[in-house]
Symmetry: C2
Subunit: 360 residues, 2 copies
């Protein structure tokens, strides 16, 4: 997408998440982004097609650990080969975005990069496109990192929040602070006060600005990244892996965003959900008149339930409220949807027992 | 068991129930009495072994519809061939007990018959034996039908109740009235008033007394039964079936007990449960410290749940309270244990859909 004679942009899709929050649908060998959770397309494919509405395939990049290589081309068939950026080992988002920046800056250091997660739900594609356009414009001066903030509709405790400060151009605000996932009372206060947004995890910046940010805020990682890229160019794979392993294992939020200034937030209204739990999935999928997502199940006196049935069995429910039932070929999970984030405790329990290793 | 020179007794086990209340564990082709619900033995086998503690195999009889013939000998291997009484068609309990009475009265009309259901839980076998002894003694005069009443421990709405009147010998009372399953408030009143017992569905009588009761209270059925027995003796199977079909399709409770006088009730304390729901099963099985029956499932923050897992899958629970999870090879049922009796509504729904016929 060329916004004016002087702004050109690229899209980077983060496809490295090993998300276990939707276990047993997602597994360590087949995480959330590769799952067809909303319709017949995987979330990664949906994200790539959404990116395609912003720009051409040659400007769309995907970054992921190298073991996902094959899987990614299955889901994004039109991705140009050279546009897949492979991390030698998985090292969290700061190194993976850093490696992408180091790679892309060589083409045109004034390009604006739009970073998208590959496992979110976006309802209104048109609104999304308009918001991205605005963010790209704001980022194009090379002075600001730009994030997309979602206006909260209820006190969600599963998201990070952004506190906004002074107003700026094009309806944006300066970011005052990034805030961790709050408890219910704090989340309610955020909503009442009105100056807080959900952190969507999508951000936009000019490549040279981000490169500078790495060099100042994560100098050790910065050096490791330059070294990695050098070895990769020479096809010295093992040396590259060794260099990449020197990167700090840290998220872009902790490593860069929370320390950087100035950051802008663009208030966004495109209907966003991080699909980080079965309750979140339940929220965005079509429901029957009792609020159930049934996936073929038969119910009696049940409300607001979420069923995902990957087996050929008949699933039947009686008298349930707000319960998730995930039936796969080797695992059944039944959970209170309000407590489905405890799946990590369950996985912790399973990890300690050898019988369950292959189910994680 | 010969209690004195003059009393001899027989035991009749009712094995005809087509119970669907524990669906999908029990199915129309494999009802509850054939299931190993409490341990590795089926409920019918447990009942037969319990009867064996009362008398010898030659005095133990089983009555069931003829399609269960093979199944019954699988579960009660030592049952003498001639002691299986086969109903030509299933016609509820009055005809099946009536046919048994017509058959057995020919051997010795002064024999006392102990009628046991084949699908209940009894905790204390010794207490049970003592109670039966008492009931047999009371029945042996040939003046009284005798039932076993269970002292209620909580306001159960799934059982019928017996209201008692004047005291009689051996700690027994006269029955004032049989009462249908009450609602919660009424059940609570029954408990507060203290003169009510749960109807265990077990009863004891002298054969000649019951024969007389049929002739007076169900004369049409009585005649049909005499005719049936005659044809069966002559091995005229089809004619017997036709005659038996003329019996009224009515339970022994409605057909005889509620109209007969005098009936005695023997207060019983042997720990009884009709296993008529998953909640009932949950009550009698060994539980973990959080009150769960897990059957190998892994749980996080879950209490008072009941899992029965007939598949090889891992079953996992998060944040559930009082939920039943029944995983079989072709059906999964997840239910609120307090509403598990609604399984009949679910089956009604399934019956209307051809896809599910073979699952019922």
């Amino acid at each position: 997408m060329v916004l004016s004679n002087t702004i050109s942009m690229k899209v980077l899709i983060l496809a490295g998440g090993g998300g276990t929050r939707l276990w047993p649908l997602s597994r360590s060998h087949s995480p959330k982004q590769f799952q067809p959770l909303l319709n017949s397309k995987s979330l990664l494919e949906e994200t790539a097609l959404r990116a395609r509405k912003l720009t051409s395939w040659e400007n769309i990049y995907v970054v992921a650990p190298k073991q996902y290589r094959k899987e990614i081309f299955k889901h994004v068939k039109k991705l140009p080969c050279r546009n897949l950026i492979l991390e030698p080992t998985p090292r969290n988002t700061a190194p993976s975005i850093g490696l992408s920046v180091v790679r892309l800056v060589q083409q045109n250091h004034h390009d604006v990069l739009v970073v998208l997660s590959s496992d979110s739900f976006i309802q209104n594609e048109n609104q999304f496109k308009q918001t991205i356009k605005k963010a790209v414009k704001l980022a194009s001066s090379g002075e600001y990192l730009v994030t997309l903030g979602i206006r909260p509709t209820y006190p969600e405790t599963g998201y990070g929040y952004i506190r906004t400060g002074k107003k700026f151009k094009l309806g944006s605000h300066f970011v005052k602070k990034f805030l961790e996932k709050p408890n219910k009372a704090v989340a309610q206060r955020f909503i009442n006060q009105g100056e807080y947004f959900w952190n969507s995890g999508m951000f936009i910046f000019r490549l040279d600005l981000m490169l500078g940010a790495f060099s100042v805020l994560l100098p050790k990682t910065y050096n490791a990244l330059l070294e990695t890229e050098l070895f990769l160019k020479r096809k010295q794979t093992q040396k590259a892996a060794k260099a990449f392993a020197k990167c700090e294992e840290i998220s872009i939020d902790y490593g860069i965003l929370e320390k950087f200034q100035p950051i802008l937030v663009v208030p966004s209204h495109f209907g966003w959900n991080d699909l980080g739990s079965f309750a979140a999935l339940q929220k965005v999928l079509p429901k029957d008149y009792r609020g159930n997502v049934l996936d073929g199940a038969v119910e009696i006196e049940s409300d607001n339930c979420f069923v995902k049935n990957e087996s050929k069995k008949l699933v039947s429910l009686i008298g349930l409220n707000h319960i998730g039932v995930i039936e796969t070929d080797d695992v059944l999970l039944v959970c209170d949807l309000k407590r489905s984030q405890k799946v990590k405790d369950l996985l912790g329990k399973l990890k300690r027992d050898k019988r369950y290793q292959n189910l994680i």
